[in-house]
């Protein structure tokens, strides 16, 4: 059975008719070709699929697309400026070597931006606690934590 959807994705209005069972992550990847949002586990554990829904980090594999109706969704593709200048948090991950394979990175960056909105100057403990829902199997997290602190400082400027 299909449902009507209208929402904003990365600043652009989107309307679509989708099967009710469509997950938000599948809608973004398959219908809108925004494949920067990754699927790591598909069970709500890893956070690779994290996107921003009305400013809140959520797991797009654990949401129906229909639950984003009327919302503003931002994915990793929506962060950089029009001229390609990276968002300060993206730049911080690059600068601090906060990634290796990069699979977890889009979710980490979206979670980090949600975190900084609530904790503009997060300490290490806060960063680690707030990233509980994002798993990385490469980095050992050290440089991710560094990158988030660095990105938070850059966002404050």
């Amino acid at each position: 059975m299909s449902v009507q959807l209208s929402l904003t994705v990365n600043g652009k209005p989107v309307s679509a008719t989708v099967d009710a069972r469509t997950l938000l992550v599948d809608f973004l990847r398959n219908e809108l070709a925004l494949t920067g949002t990754h699927v790591g586990c598909d069970t709500g554990q890893c956070g690779a699929c994290t996107v921003s829904l009305d400013g809140r980090a959520v797991k797009a594999c654990n949401l129906l697309a229909a639950q984003a109706n009327g919302a503003k969704v931002v994915t990793i593709e929506g962060l950089a400026a029009a001229d390609g200048t990276l968002h300060p948090m993206q730049a911080a991950f690059k600068e601090c070597h906060g990634l290796q394979c990069g699979f977890c990175t889009p979710g980490m960056v979206l979670s980090a931006i949600d975190l900084v909105a609530r904790h503009p100057q997060p300490d290490e403990k806060t960063i680690r606690a707030e990233l509980e829902g994002n798993l990385c199997r490469c980095t050992g997290y050290q440089n991710i934590v560094k990158a988030v602190a660095h990105g938070a400082a850059a966002m404050a400027k």
Binding site: A20, L23, G47, K59, N62
Partner: protein, 263 residues
């Protein structure tokens, strides 16, 4: 996922009508339900989305109660000035549910209707002696939780809000299972107008009150008094994470920690 129908409701009355017509299930934040549907552990033919119902949202102080709308998200409860001032233990509990992304979507009404044996909110609702308000009636916490994933809710009955009496003091202490972060044992301790209440989650098939701890703490509200209580392992869970005896021991230990945290 399997195919189903989704209807959007804009009021509690229209949601109730849709549930009655379709025999479907309400969709709150979906953080347990969508995951269960992906695994076909739940297979409702129709979902009635409650997210558009404004009257189910929000937190307000009503005399000596804090009333939380059913569709209020965990992150909102954790950040609420009213909750933090009146019942800091409840704000802290909400801040410890799942992870940030789950707290940004999951709702108190959804968590209570689901009544997961290791969920945190049931411990607060039972520990504080709150009441669960539905579109039909008001249900006391002592009557609400019936068993594993089972509540007093009738088919199509919708939780509208939860009313928490402000306790004299309260705290929640959770021993999290290291991988899932769900409560292996979580204990909510409260000194309320009606005496000391102790609610335990994670240890059995559903949340329960621990009378021996309540009696001991009513006489002497100290960590030592809690630690001295030998909790019976009868009926507690046995799985790869721990034996009933281990969980029984943890109940006293976490109760003692909660008493310390309650100050």
């Amino acid at each position: 996922m399997y195919s189903f129908e989704l209807k959007r409701a804009d009021s509690v009355a229209s949601a109730a009508a849709l549930l009655g017509e379709t025999g479907g299930k309400p969709l709150a934040g979906g953080q347990s339900l969508v995951a269960a549907m992906k695994l076909r552990l739940a297979q409702p033919g129709t979902l009635v989305d409650l997210s558009g119902i404004a009257e189910l949202r929000g937190i307000r102080k009503e005399g000596d109660h804090v009333v939380i709308g059913a569709m209020t998200r965990h992150a909102e409860v954790a950040a609420s000035k009213d909750v933090r001032a009146a019942i800091p233990a409840l704000a802290a509990l909400a801040e410890g549910i799942g992870d940030r992304q789950i707290r940004n979507m999951g709702t108190i009404g959804g968590a209570l209707a689901n009544n997961d044996p290791a969920a945190d909110y049931p411990a607060a609702v039972l520990g504080l002696g709150a009441s669960v308000n539905t579109n039909k009636r008001k249900i006391a916490a002592d009557d609400f939780f019936r068993g594993m994933y089972e509540t007093a809710l009738a088919d199509g009955e919708i939780i509208t809000s939860v009313s928490f009496p402000v306790p004299k003091k309260a705290a929640y202490a959770k021993f999290a299972q290291p991988a899932s972060r769900f409560a292996l044992v979580g204990v909510f301790v409260a000194q309320t107008g009606g005496g000391v209440r102790v609610a335990v989650t994670g240890a059995a098939s559903a949340v329960f009150r621990c009378k021996p701890l309540e009696e001991a703490l009513a006489k002497n509200f100290t960590a030592d008094a809690a630690t001295m209580v030998k909790v019976s392992p009868d009926g507690l869970n046995r799985d790869l994470h721990g034996s009933p005896e281990y969980r029984a021991h943890l109940v006293s230990v976490m109760a003692a920690r909660a008493v310390v945290a309650a100050g």
